[in-house]
């Protein structure tokens, strides 16, 4: 047998099991069970988060929307709050996998897996989201832009659980584009998101670097209204490779095209 499965009823119990046994978190399972099928190494202790209903809510305060880490992409798609306030995240959620995947895959799992091609991270990073990480002793808030430390690597500590995604309600517009080989069940060849927060434009690009990138200098150029400079800066802020989903050269061209397309979409919206 490949692993022992723990099914805690509460967050406290989950953290306790993690502290005592180590182990890996199991959310929707749409990555972990693929790894199992492909014969990749699996942690011998899996801790299912399936019963932790307090992490399955989308709630709204005066200034923020807080998404529980176990909210599925289907729930994001069906949420009017997400659709109206964060269209980039909504659009991304609608394009993850297919219906069956969206019924199980969670936003927290998507963030924590830290795939460079994540469709959830790109819009969240453009929207300047933060994460609440829960530990046995303390909770902490981390900016998503500071969460990734390398390819498939995050800042999460061994005794922590990603509990919530926090997005401020200060964006006035956001857009998202996914480029893939087919319109469903596709890993992104490239994805991009743009958001307007106050006077500032934020551009993020996925699947063109070891982690999803917030392109700071490109964003500054876009904020200045200088699209030519933004195109130049963009190529210095992404580092795509050739892989089965696309070539580096193609990704560089497409990144510039989708950035331009999003920028025009933003202009039309204003």
């Amino acid at each position: 047998m490949q692993f022992h499965l723990h099914c805690p009823d509460t967050i406290e119990e989950a953290l306790r099991v993690r502290r005592e046994k180590g182990g890996a978190w199991l959310a929707g399972g749409t990555v972990l069970l693929v790894n199992k099928h492909q014969g990749k190494p699996i942690n011998p202790e899996l801790i299912s988060l399936d019963k932790l209903n307090e992490l399955k809510q989308i709630r709204e305060t005066e200034n923020e929307v807080i998404i529980g880490a176990l909210v599925t992409f289907d729930e994001l798609e069906k949420s009017e709050v997400i659709r109206s306030r964060f269209p980039a995240l909504w659009k991304a959620a609608c394009q993850v996998g297919g219906p069956q995947i969206r019924h199980r895959a969670t936003i927290g799992g998507n963030i924590a897996v830290a795939s460079p091609a994540s469709d959830g991270v790109t819009p969240l990073m453009a929207l300047d989201a933060s994460l609440r990480l829960i530990g046995p002793e303390e909770n902490r808030i981390v900016k998503l832009t500071e969460f990734y430390t390398g390819k498939f690597k995050t800042d999460i500590k061994s005794d922590e659980l990603l509990a919530e995604v926090i997005i401020s309600k200060n964006s006035t517009w956001s857009g998202f584009v996914k480029v893939g080989k087919r319109s469903a069940l596709a890993v992104s060849c490239l994805n991009a998101s743009m958001a307007k927060i106050g006077d500032k434009i934020r551009l993020t690009i996925g699947s063109a670097a070891p982690e999803v990138r917030y392109c700071v200098r490109t964003s500054d150029a876009l904020t200045e209204g200088d699209l030519t400079k933004a195109c130049q800066m963009l190529q210095t802020e992404i580092s795509p490779i050739d892989d089965r989903w696309g070539t580096a050269d193609y990704r560089r061209k497409v990144a510039q095209n989708v950035m331009t397309s999003l920028y025009h979409e933003l202009e039309e919206n204003e």
């Binding site: 490949q2 749409t30 099928h37 299912s48 219906p99 069940l185």
Partner: protein, 158 residues
């Protein structure tokens, strides 16, 4: 390690010993001998293993059996009631939406889910609703036609 799984499958209460790392797909096919649900890719990329869990369509190849504790599962065997094919099954046959038949159980379960959520879908909505199910034979048009017909018949009966 093993544990006892208690759930409802196609209306019947089930209590069985299972392994921690057993998928729902394996449990249905190997433990319950409900072989209508198929393994196409084993990785959530084809939809041949689609079943309903508490009314929601999922890839049973990516769903651990242990997580089904207390839940209600419907497989393709549970779609036909008392030996009578469902409307969608009949329409699939009439429209030639079944060729080799391998994708059909998953496709029909996804179609049942689609109409349970959206009783009057457009062709585009049908295609999106079936986008988690691959068919290498038909080209999908016959499925779209079958579902449109069922939706129309149901609407006219109201």
């Amino acid at each position: 390690m093993s544990l006892i799984l208690n759930c409802i499958v196609n209306g019947e209460k089930i209590s069985r010993e299972i392994q921690d790392d057993e998928t729902l797909l394996f449990f249905l096919r190997e433990d319950l001998h409900l072989t209508g649900t198929k393994e196409g890719c084993g990785e959530g990329d084809c939809g041949a293993c689609t079943v309903l869990v508490d009314g929601m369509s999922v890839n049973s190849c990516l769903y651990l059996a242990a997580i089904a504790e207390g839940k209600t599962i419907t497989t393709i065997e549970g779609i036909a009631k008392d030996g009578e094919l469902s409307e969608i099954q009949e329409a699939f046959i009439r429209h030639g939406a079944i060729q080799c038949g391998f994708c059909s159980p998953g496709m029909i379960v996804s179609s049942e889910y689609l109409l349970s959520q959206n009783p009057n879908p457009t062709p585009e909505e049908i295609r999106r609703g079936l986008s988690g199910n691959l068919c290498r034979c038909t080209g999908y048009q016959q499925m779209v036609d079958a579902i449109m017909e069922v939706a129309k018949n149901r609407a006219s009966r109201k």
